[in-house]
C-alpha cells in the first residue's frame, strides 16, 4: 500500500472510532450528573434555580469533551493536512 492509501485508511478508521468511543464516557457522565441533579431537586425543590443552573454548566463542561472528539473527526475528514500534502505531491508529480 502506498502513502496515499495508508493515510486515507488511517484517517477514515480513526475518524469513525474517535467519535464513537469518544462520546461513550461523556454520555455516561452526563447521565449520572442529571440523575444526581434530579435526586437533589426532589429533596430540595426550593433550590431548583441554583441546581438547574449548576446542572447546565456542568453538562456543558462534560459535553465539551465530546465536542473535542467531534472536532478531531471533522478535521480528519475535511481538513486533513496530511491528505492535502499527499494530494499536492501527487498533483505536482
Amino acid at each position: 500500500m502506498d502513502n496515499m492509501t495508508i493515510i486515507a485508511v488511517a484517517s477514515i478508521l480513526v475518524a469513525g472510532m474517535t467519535t464513537s468511543f469518544g462520546t461513550l464516557a461523556p454520555a455516561l457522565a452526563e447521565g449520572k450528573a442529571v440523575a444526581t441533579a434530579l435526586t437533589s431537586l426532589a429533596q430540595q425543590p426550593d433550590a431548583s434555580a441554583t441546581i438547574t443552573r449548576t446542572l447546565f454548566v456542568g453538562l456543558a463542561m462534560i459535553e465539551s469533551l465530546a465536542i473535542y472528539c467531534f472536532v478531531i473527526s471533522m478535521i480528519l475528514i475535511f481538513a486533513n493536512p496530511f491528505w492535502h500534502y499527499v494530494i499536492a505531491q501527487t498533483a505536482g508529480k
Partner: protein, 231 residues
C-alpha cells in the same frame, strides 16, 4: 463541504480576504449598535415606557441578576463586558433563522478571539479589585506548589472556552448541511431549531463561565453582612 464560514470569500485582494465570518460579524455589530442607540434615544423613568425599552430592561436586569448569583457583588461593573458577550453570542445564533446566514461563531477565529477577550479581562478585573500583588499572590493559593497548575489551568480553560463554542456552532451547521443532502426538508428544519437551542445554551454557558472565572479572580468574598432591620 464547507467546514467554517471562513472559506466563503466575498472579496479578495492579494492576501486581504473578506470572508463570510468578517461580513456577518460586521452585520451583527451594526445591528446591535444601531439598535441599542435607537432604543436608548429617549429613555423614560416613569411607568409609561416604550416597548423596546421595556425589553432591554428585562434583558439587562436578567443578566445582572445572573451575574449576582454567580457571586460577583456590584454587577454593574461587569455587566458591560459580560452582557455584551451574551448579547453578541445570542444574536449570532438567533439569526440562523434567516436563510443564507451562517453564524460567525462557527469559525475558530471568532471563538478564539472571544476566549482571548475573557483571558485578558479576568486578570484586568482581578488586578482592579485586589491590586497587582494581591492578584499575583492568588496564583500561589493554596500552596506555592500549585503555581504551575494554576497557570496551566488558566490557559487550558481559555482554550476550552474557544473550542467548546466553536464545536457546538460548527456541528449545528454541519448537521443541517449533511441532512439537506439525504433527507426530506422537515428534518433539516427541525435540526436548525435544535441548533438554535444549543446556540442559546452555549451563549449562556460562555457568559456564566466567564463570570465564574472573573469571580474567582476577584476573590468572591463572603456575602456582605445582611442589612439588619430590613422591615
Amino acid at each position: 463541504m464547507r467546514l467554517t464560514p471562513d472559506e466563503w470569500i466575498f472579496w479578495q485582494h492579494g492576501f486581504l480576504k473578506l470572508n463570510a465570518t468578517i461580513v456577518f460579524t460586521w452585520v451583527l455589530m451594526l445591528l446591535l449598535a444601531v439598535g441599542s442607540k435607537l432604543v436608548t434615544r429617549k429613555l423614560s423613568m416613569d411607568l409609561e415606557r416604550a416597548h423596546w425599552q421595556n425589553l432591554l430592561e428585562i434583558v439587562v436586569t436578567g443578566i445582572e441578576k445572573q451575574i449576582e448569583e454567580v457571586g460577583l457583588h456590584s454587577p454593574e461593573r461587569y455587566v458591560g463586558f459580560l452582557g455584551t458577550l451574551f448579547l453578541f453570542l445570542a444574536t449570532a445564533s438567533l439569526f440562523t433563522v434567516i436563510p443564507g446566514y451562517e453564524p460567525p461563531t462557527g469559525s475558530l477565529s471568532t471563538t478564539a478571539a472571544l476566549a482571548l477577550c475573557v483571558f485578558v479581562a479576568v486578570p484586568l478585573f482581578g488586578i482592579k479589585e485586589r491590586g497587582l500583588g494581591g492578584y499575583l499572590k492568588s496564583y500561589a493559593e493554596p500552596t506555592a506548589i500549585m503555581l504551575p497548575f494554576n497557570i496551566i489551568s488558566e490557559l487550558s480553560r481559555t482554550l476550552a472556552l474557544a473550542v467548546r463554542l466553536f464545536g457546538n456552532m460548527m456541528s449545528g451547521v454541519m448537521i443541517v448541511g449533511i441532512l439537506l443532502t439525504i433527507t426530506p426538508f422537515i428534518f433539516p428544519a427541525v435540526m436548525t431549531a435544535l441548533g438554535l437551542l444549543t446556540g442559546m445554551v452555549q451563549a449562556y454557558i460562555f457568559t456564566i463561565l466567564a463570570a465564574v472565572y472573573i469571580a474567582a479572580a476577584v476573590g468572591s468574598r463572603k456575602a456582605k453582612v445582611e442589612p439588619a432591620l430590613k422591615t
